[in-house]
């Protein structure tokens, strides 16, 4: 697998002078992975791929708009590429996608790789990238049934409990904006949270302003979140951001029959409508 990635990267670099391969290499702790940018064919030897390659590299493509770039992507990351192409941020021609069939990723904590795959991987549906020029690994069938038991658990508790639960979560937010920085879908020139006039979100980190920031962030990713889970992974205070994102993911699948990033052409839900839809579920 790794050999294939290295060979493909090398072949591509030899043909594309001035190009860059974005992939993973072993981090200095000798255990986890970190992103690497390779410009010369002879350097491909440092490329790796295993269950520690948690990062979604597709956001780096935004820094290489219009430049020849090859990228190693997992299925969820690959949807980021489709999303960005759909939103006219990238053009498909300049990108060479090395898609890797994903075995599920594991995070490292306290110098040790965890036993269980990341929670997002446990409910993942797509194990083969949605877009690729070369596929590494055997295509895997999709998981047939959606698992939203995590969302359902929150839906199942009372409205007051929900209110209390999220209040407690959002109160912890220190407004570091790590979730935004890592997100492939967050590429505004200036985020609404940083705007001073009008002041959408107060500058202080307090319960009310944290509330609107977190809702605004999630809602801006509605029908756009590709489920890579990076926001939640980098959150220093452990807010279950994917739990919010996944509610929107579920609703937009139910209401609009739409899954973000599965292709680059389908009009996203907020760009279109059906005259006859009612969008009201039996309550």
């Amino acid at each position: 697998m790794i050999e294939t990635i290295r060979n493909k990267a090398k072949e591509w670099l030899e043909k594309n002078d001035g190009g860059c391969v974005i992939g993973y290499e072993r981090a200095s702790d000798g255990m986890t992975a970190r992103p690497v940018f390779i410009y010369k064919p002879y350097m491909v030897g440092s490329l790796i791929f295993d269950e520690t390659c948690v990062h979604n590299l597709s956001k780096y493509l935004l820094n290489r708009r219009g430049l020849k770039t090859a990228i190693v992507v997992k299925p969820c990351d690959s949807r980021g590429i489709n999303l960005l192409i759909n939103e006219h941020q990238l053009d498909r021609e300049s990108i060479y996608v090395i898609g890797v069939v994903c075995p599920g990723m594991k995070d490292a904590h306290f110098g040790r790789i965890e036993d269980r795959p990341l929670s997002k991987c446990r409910v993942c549906l797509h194990h083969t990238p949605a877009v690729y020029d070369v596929l590494v690994g055997e295509p895997q069938p999709e998981t047939a049934s959606r698992d939203y038991s995590d969302v359902a658990r929150i839906e199942g508790i009372s409205i007051h409990e929900r209110n209390a639960f999220w209040k407690e979560q959002f109160e912890r937010c220190i407004r570091c904006y790590g979730c935004r920085q890592v997100c492939a879908g967050c590429y505004c020139q200036e985020c609404f949270v940083d705007e001073l006039d009008p002041l959408w979100v107060g500058i202080r980190s307090g319960p009310e302003d944290n509330w609107i920031w977190n809702i605004g962030r999630a809602f801006h990713l509605s029908a756009r979140c590709i489920g890579c889970g990076e926001c939640e992974r980098v959150c220093p205070v452990g807010i279950p951001l994917m739990l919010a994102n996944r509610k929107l993911e579920k609703e937009s699948a139910d209401l609009f029959d739409f899954e973000p990033g599965m292709d680059a052409g389908t009009a996203p839900p907020f760009a279109t409508f059906l005259k006859e839809e009612t969008l009201e579920k039996v309550e």
Binding site: N163, D209, F273
Partner: protein
């Protein structure tokens, strides 16, 4: 003295149908509770979902978004987009602990003065029954 709870409602009304419908409620002297504060927008499609979130953050007990009936939008299809935006925001806010009954999307035409007053009355009623928002 009895203390009664008076919910605060922010209403975003499209200029062509719902705002005109609210005017008609006035011209026909249809009384309704004074709890709503109306903000005129050209089209319900002008309503940024964040306006709604912002109103709730500031303390609104209910938010009403009202536009032309589907198919009647003055701008041909603005209200269809509104329907999608609010249609997604509503279950999401509910999920986050803000009861979906507090956010209403209604179609009120320029000729439906009576209906507008009914919408405001029933919405105010609902909110009074629900009581103040838990903080």
């Amino acid at each position: 003295m009895e203390l009664t709870y008076e919910p605060r409602i922010v209403g975003f009304l499209c200029n062509w149908c719902s705002y005109a419908g609210a005017d008609l409620a006035g011209t026909s002297r249809t009384n309704y509770p004074a709890n709503i504060r109306i903000i005129r927008v050209p089209c319900s499609g002008r309503v940024d979902p964040l306006f709604i979130v912002k109103a709730f953050q500031l303390g609104a007990d209910g938010v009403l978004v009202a536009g032309c009936h589907p198919g009647d939008c003055h701008y041909s299809d603005g209200n269809y987009h509104t329907r999608r935006r609010v249609g997604l925001l509503r279950p999401f806010l509910d999920y986050l602990g803000l009861d979906k009954a507090r956010l209403r999307l209604e179609w009120v035409s320029a000729s439906e003065g009576k209906r507008f007053s009914e919408v405001v009355s029933s919405f105010t009623d609902t909110l009074i029954k629900m009581g103040p928002r838990s903080s």
